[in-house]
Symmetry: C2
Subunit: 189 residues, 2 copies
Amino acid sequence: MTAYGADATGPILIWFSASAEGAWRQVDTRAIRGPALAPAPRLDVQIGAEPAFSAVWRLKGVVSHLRYTTGAEAHKLGDRGAGLGRPEADRAVLIPIRKSPAWWALPQDERRNIYEEQSRHTSIGLEYLPQIARRLHHCRDLGEPFDFLTWFEFAAEHETAFDTLLARLRATEEWRYVDRETEIRLVRT
Amino acid sequence: MTAYGADATGPILIWFSASAEGAWRQVDTRAIRGPALAPAPRLDVQIGAEPAFSAVWRLKGVVSHLRYTTGAEAHKLGDRGAGLGRPEADRAVLIPIRKSPAWWALPQDERRNIYEEQSRHTSIGLEYLPQIARRLHHCRDLGEPFDFLTWFEFAAEHETAFDTLLARLRATEEWRYVDRETEIRLVRT
């Protein structure tokens, strides 16, 4: 009955598998908050069906519609946006995050207010485009241990800028609602 | 790795199975827009793992956080809300809906504007509380053939009010973005 990709605009399911396979070498795994994910030599990223090989851990998420972004913001993001897979962008970071029950109990307008008006989440990310490309995967409704998987891609020369972006986001009001976070640094091989 | 129900506030997965089993007798199935779902004698509703018995069709969705509702609206809904399973509410209607690619391409503020400011979706529903109880199940991110499954429960004496509620919603601007809709009327046995 499951029909991901039944139309071109529907959610796209992505699998992240930590194992000995995959195009990305894991160079560092840090548990920022909550329990860690086990380290593994590589990370494999696949679209569609669950990969057949066994993995140390496997996380899935869907690339889906925007949840907080306004039309004006979406326009700016589109203007400055950068795609994944640029040849020079051989560094990636996967950041699985879970937000607290208190966050999810908030109504939409209060979550939006914390997300952007107080924390400037979209505005901060915009400052680092097009150097730091990102793709957000939603997984809360999929019964996963995390709510979001964010994938960042950039060239080695922009790693310091990425560190600053991350530090700024983690200092926001929004991040007070993050109750589990892991950071996995990767290099494309 | 799937962990629905890992905490009390997380999304809850619900299965709707059309077969010879289940507490609800199917009295009518109408394809309002798009292809129909096959009729079956009964409908079974279960929480958690996929039911083991075979079904004519099976749809799943998660009861999850609010997507458009403001704090003020959530407060009103809470005040007037009615739970499922009331003894007198032996009529139910399951309405699976899919919205168009054009809807999902809209940013959050434009979807909210159509949903409530133009279509008064929450406000209309409020007028029928507590007589018409409802529970919304999200399934777009689950790769299902529908985006939402709405379950309504009411006493037989309120069926006319329910019909009016449905007619009012279907006449809204929001419904212009509905590209598949089926209506399944049920009686508890």
